[in-house]
Symmetry: C2
Subunit: 330 residues, 2 copies
């Protein structure tokens, strides 16, 4: 199979609903600051009714990553489930408009396209309440072999571990990737996801995953340790490669042979941290697909993350390719 | 009837779809730069398919004005038609979240909630293609007497002259306003609207309107003159009061007795001119409803316009009340 894509990703196809909020709003509504909580339709409607005036924009963790890869000039494909409704068409439009391959079979007669209500506090932290809607109707039937087999890196979003049919889809994607000699990457997505699926995630990583993305909270939770260094030691040799982000402290890239610490890019003002990890993964994988050193991959990740936290919204607003060229990274 | 609202407005309830574009895109798609063009559903779908990745946000000219009035701390009500769909719920949520009164009867089984595709070029000009959808199903049955009779100023959006049922709704609103001693304001909205409805607009102004909002293009078109001064002379005594905006050259406020020139507020960088006129009207009417001098009204309008052109999106992103207090205007 020829290399059709630098990165192909499977994720929850979600439209973000972004509004400012104060800390009292989080407390009043029992929302864990900085986390992603799943809500049902009734709670979703209730919370939306209380949120401030919002802006809607296509999101979803892996969808954001694919947008970042495309913005860097990479070839990208996305697999995810939208409903046959207005927000599903919005998500589909935006994915295609950035130049990514996305040919969904929209869900008819089921739940609506997923939405994530993102409350951004003045400290730039985002707290998310996600109604998964149609996105969890993603099944192995939605895993197109030609996409997986044609991608240098296949990227899976840990959030999908919450849905049984999606875990089957992951197994299919992993088998296809392995069979065609493709690299399989996984992001742990969220500390609570790791809590809910620790054993399943560990088994999946050990048996299938080449590259793990995590932040500090997630990797500590995965190995139930308070020590970052211990957690990093545990991840290798379960995976061949891991990239662990530490917010303003940069990231750590680990293999069997080396551990590299790469600083974060300075940001004038952090406005909204939504999508920081997603863009880090985008930069890192774009570099990897293009044969760059691991340190350069981490720098590309840091640059992409710095762009996205400088404004509201989870996807790049300027060309990351231009930005990376200016910094001499590509 | 007590004063329930500073401003009640009737407008096309529209969700904006905002994306960057270059000038070539406008030329290729035969779009008149800076104008608002009406498109049918087929053309809407075609153009959306060609647009860049976008952000969705509640808009509509009078809706934006109501958001501005609310942001200034004013009491505001809105009348407009949305469909019973996702974007209709988005529009409704945002209107209520800013504290405005909005109790629509959503349209079922008809066209979708209106969308305006706004292409913003690097020079910050916005070019709009609007699919009016459900918004033009607004009829005189949607004009709630208690809202009109309880508003110090009743504000009508000229765009609605394109729909016959909405013109009937305007007649009803005008009669209710007159009967209850309320001030009736009208914005001309767009040069092409004036072209399409010159005679109707003039007759409506002469018989009903107290306060006219226009920009330079619109007022020249209304009186078919190339002279700004001539146009301004013509508007009075047809209306009692007119506020005419001239972009970076500020605005001119005219009555029988006086003509005041008020400068624009300096803006560091103009990002997106969408909503500039709408916010000017918001500031002006808020001042008027609170008994401020005409010059102060124009200053409030200029301040609100300056805020909205400093970022993408047609509604204020910071509290205009705070901003106006900082500037000593309220």
């Amino acid at each position: 199979m020829p290399d059709l894509y630098d990165v192909a990703a499977i994720g929850n196809a979600i439209v973000d609903v972004i509004a400012p909020a104060d800390d009292a709003f989080l407390v009043d509504n029992k929302l864990d600051k900085g986390a992603m909580m799943l809500v049902d339709e009734a709670r979703s409607t209730e919370l939306y009714g209380k949120m401030q005036a919002a802006v809607e924009t296509s999101g979803g963790s892996a969808g954001n990553t694919i947008a970042g890869v495309a913005s860097l000039g990479g070839k990208a494909a996305y697999l995810g489930k939208v409903a046959d409704d207005q927000l599903g068409r919005v998500f589909t439009h935006d994915m295609r408009a950035i130049g990514a391959h996305f040919e969904p079979t929209p869900l008819k007669g089921g739940p609506a396209t997923a939405v994530s209500m993102i409350n951004v506090t003045p400290d730039a932290q985002r707290t998310m309440c996600t109604f998964l809607g149609a996105s969890v109707e993603f099944t192995d039937a939605d895993v197109t072999p030609a996409i997986i087999e044609g991608a240098k890196i296949v990227y899976l979003e840990g959030y999908l571990f919450d849905a049984e049919p999606a875990r089957k889809a992951f197994a299919k994607a992993a088998a296809l990737a392995r069979g065609s000699g493709r690299m399989l990457a996984l992001t742990l997505s969220d500390g609570f996801v790791v809590d809910r699926h620790r054993a399943g995630l560990l088994a999946f990583i050990e048996s299938q995953v080449d590259l793990v993305f995590a932040n500090e909270v997630e990797i500590k939770s995965l190995f139930q340790t308070d020590s970052f260094d211990d957690a990093v030691r545990e991840i290798i040799p379960r995976a061949r490669l891991a990239a662990v982000t530490r917010s303003e402290h940069g990231s750590v890239v680990v293999t069997n042979a080396e551990t590299a610490h790469v600083p974060a890019y300075p940001v004038e003002k952090v406005v909204d941290t939504t999508g920081a990890g997603d863009q880090y993964a985008a930069g890192f994988m774009f570099g990897l697909a293009r044969g760059r050193s691991l340190t350069d991959c981490a720098k590309l990740g840091a640059l992409a993350a710095a762009e996205v936290i400088s404004h509201y919204g989870p996807r790049p607003q300027v060309s990351l390719q231009t930005l990376a060229k200016e910094k001499g990274l590509i």
